[in-house]
């Protein structure tokens, strides 16, 4: 069986190469037969990689330890759920998944556009297949997942225990769906540049693809944060780890792009900028994959040392050079149709939004690369810690959040002072009043107060937007409040979906502010029966139990939690030792409420059962995850296909005929 998988990958390599070459040749010579053959080759690559995936999955499920990959990431004791997840639990498997998603996307793109964008498609195919070629080359030549062992072990090593978490099962596919998804807009941008079809058509065809990629990447990032929070046991959800940064950077430029395409669609401006953003986003996706896969950084994601670095860097350099050459060649065709008329206008607020996003991206990129650069230049690895990232990104982030309130309300072209007053008076007053209330309630942390004020302002603008929209709808067609709301959203999914996404972002900022400014962290040493107070909570250490499971041995502490004498819950922080990997892990005990999370780690214990607990009180973290869900909801609304205009009713047709008749009589 495994030979079939290996052969399928090798065939896919040659087929992808053929597809790329024949597509370009077909475009050059204007031969439809060649382009059609390239399209079929794309489907062929999809079929072949799917065969390889199925073979690998079969090998994992049947515990075929002849394969080195299967032996290194799974064992017989692992539940089936995690055996399947082991497909992307190691280097080769995760690259196979990356590739499979890419070729699936490619097949969908070819199918969707079989009678559209004919001039662009050969180049789109060539670009997508070149990316597939990179991964196929790495899989066939450097990291073959179907490599066989000389001596077959009786059992495998098993999946890294840190990855044995339901969140980890869905986090990587989500991230890949996002990373890889940006290949489609990039391919269309290349198609537009190469074919010279630079009007706004290509932008329209990729808006939905970009949103899908952006959504998956965002969800992937949040799931990764949640996994880090519940699994890594250091009390936080974001550490500015290079791998986290790698996923954040394309998300930032992707978000900038989603905003700036609106300006191109509506005003015909920022054409060069948009192409640059697409190229940058894709390059950052590849760069992110490089960071996590090449082993240049140490992290839970970087699977040991690997030989992939040169492949990635060569490819990255190649696509950047080609993209820049094409872009420069087409510069004269990419002039704006309109000019910026005023700094106080919706256009310029979008421009600021883009500058902030890209600024954040560069700050993150600099912080991520600095240790690598400093090591290369000075021989000393100077790591950039969280304070740098926080200091730079906090004002930029708050600025962006503020703009998300301003952009939708400010007028196009030039905002008059009347327009400003009319749109911003209520949100500002609302924000000011509630912030004053928060101040009197005892919130004196300056940055937290500023952040809450901005959150309230944006929330106010969103509510105002919905209120005005509903009022207009009801004036037009009457009906109940709920019906007007639904009809409002249905009539303009992009606009209101976008507002809902902004609202999700507000919730996330509320969560980040609360958990950063008011975090309590305390080490508590207790003997069984003793109690201590952390923040508003009293915790009593009842006892420590030892349990032996098939894959691991666990030490579980029981803690009774109360507040002002009232019993709240019982928590069980754990320390585990996985037999196969001889690796200790901590299982966090967590009590979540909208107000605060109580987060307890069993840091250590002595034979006398005296235990050390690391206790965190993280206020408002709940809102981060809820905000994520709201963002998903908003994005789905924005992606959902618009209802096609219904056929005119007989009355309308009749009316039209009457009109035409009248007109004819007149002339």
């Amino acid at each position: 069986m495994s030979d079939i998988g290996g052969a399928a990958l090798t065939f896919a390599l040659w087929t992808a190469l053929y597809a790329g070459i024949i597509a370009l040749l077909g475009a050059r010579l204007g031969r439809q037969a060649m382009i059609q053959s390239a399209e079929r080759a794309t489907y062929g690559v999809f079929g072949l990689v799917t065969i390889a995936m199925v073979v690998m999955l079969y090998a994992l499920l049947t515990h075929d330890f002849r394969l080195q990959y299967v032996a290194s990431v799974s064992n017989r004791a692992m539940p089936t759920f995690y055996v399947i997840a082991a497909l992307w639990g190691g280097q080769e498997g995760s690259m196979l998944l990356w590739l499979w998603i890419l070729v699936t996307y490619s097949a969908i793109v070819v199918r969707q556009n079989r009678s559209r964008h004919r001039a662009l498609m050969p180049y789109v195919i060539a670009t997508l297949m070149t990316t597939a070629l990179l991964f196929l080359a790495m899989l066939v030549m450097a990291e073959n997942p179907f490599r066989q062992l000389a001596h077959v072990p009786r059992d495998g090593q098993g999946l890294n225990p840190l990855l044995q978490n339901p969140l980890m099962v869905i986090h990587p596919p989500n991230l890949y769906l996002g990373f890889v998804g940006f290949a489609v807009p990039f391919a269309f941008a290349m198609g537009a540049l190469a074919s010279g079809r630079l009007d706004t058509q290509w932008i329209r065809s990729i808006r939905r693809w970009t949103l899908v990629a952006w959504l998956f990447l965002g969800v992937g990032i949040l799931l990764g944060g949640q996994w880090a929070y519940v699994e890594l046991g250091w009390g936080g959800y974001w550490a500015w780890d290079p791998v986290e940064n790698a996923s954040l950077m394309p998300w930032l430029t992707g978000t900038a792009f989603l905003h700036s395409i609106m300006i191109q669609e509506k005003k015909g401006m920022l054409k060069i900028w948009n192409i640059t953003l697409v190229i940058l986003t894709y390059a950052l996706s590849i760069f992110g994959t490089f960071l996590t896969r090449s082993g240049v950084i140490s992290s839970v994601h970087a699977f040991a040392k690997s030989s992939l670095g040169p492949y990635f860097l060569l490819y990255l350099a190649g696509i950047l050079i080609i993209a820049v050459i094409l872009l420069v060649k087409r510069l004269p065709q990419l002039q704006s149709d309109h000019r910026l008329e005023s700094v106080v206008s919706r256009e310029s607020s979008f421009l600021f939004n883009n500058l902030f996003f890209v600024g954040m991206m560069f700050a993150v990129l600099w912080g991520t690369l600095f240790p690598i650069i400093s090591e290369a230049v000075q021989g000393v690895k100077i790591s950039v810690a969280a304070p740098f990232f926080n200091q730079v990104n906090m004002p930029l982030g708050l600025g962006l959040l503020f703009l998300s309130g301003v952009c939708p309300l400010i007028a196009w072209r030039k905002a008059s002072s009347r327009n400003l007053r009319r749109n911003f008076l209520y949100p500002f007053t609302f924000s000011f009043l509630i912030t004053a209330v928060l101040y009197t309630l005892g919130i004196r942390h300056v940055i937290a107060l500023i952040s809450f004020a901005v959150c309230l302002f944006v929330f106010g603008t969103i509510v105002l937007e919905f209120y005005r929209g509903i009022r207009t709808r009801r004036a037009a067609s009457g009906g109940a409040l709920g019906a007007a709301l639904i009809s409002l959203i249905r009539r303009n999914r992009r606009r209101y979906g976008g507002y809902i996404v902004h609202f999700g972002m507000v919730l996330i900022f509320v969560g980040i502010t609360g958990s950063s400014a008011y975090k309590i962290e305390q080490n508590v040493v207790l003997q069984p029966g003793e109690r201590d107070v952390v923040g508003p909570f009293t915790m009593q250490y009842d006892h420590l139990t030892r349990m032996v499971e098939p894959t691991h041995e666990a030490f579980i502490a029981q803690l009774t939690i109360s507040r002002q004498g009232t019993y709240l819950t019982t928590l069980y922080p754990e320390k585990r030792l996985y037999f196969a990997q001889n690796q200790p892990t901590t299982e966090v005990a967590l009590r979540t409420t909208p107000f605060a999370d109580l987060y307890i780690i069993l840091a250590g214990f002595e034979p006398s059962k005296t235990a050390t607990f690391k206790v965190f009180v993280n206020p408002l973290v709940f809102w981060i995850w809820l905000g994520g869900l709201v963002m998903v909801l908003g994005t789905v609304i924005a992606i959902w296909p618009e209802r096609r205009s219904p056929l005119p009713t007989p009355q309308a047709m009749a009316q039209r005929m009457v009109m035409t008749a009248t007109q004819e009589t007149r002339s």
């Binding site: 030979d3 079929r40 004919r118 079809r197 706004t200 509506k266 004036a475 009316q655 009109m659």
Partner: protein, 150 residues
């Protein structure tokens, strides 16, 4: 390697070559003049759709009070001019598209009129040429279209 594996691999290879090579053996017409027209029509239709979207957005912004009367009139006129330009180009390349266009424009205008707030407080536009109208007019001042059909 087992015989079965070799057979499967050979089968995959053969069907792949046949599947991908087949279009090259067939006679497929290369890009014709007709296709060129289709491409242009597709592009223009898309531009038209975008302009209509922009007009709808602008109307909505005006109705919700985000754009004032002067800016609204100016911007709408500009968008209309662009739309007319596109429609003319469409008319020139294909009479069928032109007809389709006209139907769509009429429907859009009718729907917009139906959407306008009761009591005539919102902007009313001519169904024929989308010019902004006053309340008392019976004919469009721009194109002469009769307005009060009963």
């Amino acid at each position: 390697m087992m015989v079965l594996d070799v057979t499967v691999i050979a089968l995959i290879a053969i069907s792949l070559v046949v599947y991908i090579g087949e279009p090259l053996l067939r006679r497929i017409a290369d890009k014709s003049a007709r296709q060129e027209v289709d491409d242009t029509a597709e592009r223009l239709l898309l531009q038209k759709e975008m302009l209509y979207g922009a007009i709808r957005d602008l109307d909505f912004d005006f109705q919700t009070g985000k754009v004032d009367q002067q800016d609204y009139a100016e911007l709408r006129q500009q968008l209309e001019r662009e739309a007319v330009h596109i429609l003319r180009q469409l008319d020139a390349i294909d009479p069928l598209v032109a007809f389709d266009n006209e139907v769509e424009q009429q429907v859009l205008a009718l729907r917009q009129r139906r959407l306008a707030p009761a009591g005539g407080s919102g902007p009313e536009t001519c169904a024929q040429c989308c010019t902004l109208l006053g309340h008392e007019e019976n004919f469009c001042p721009s194109c002469g279209q009769p307005l009060r059909l009963t």
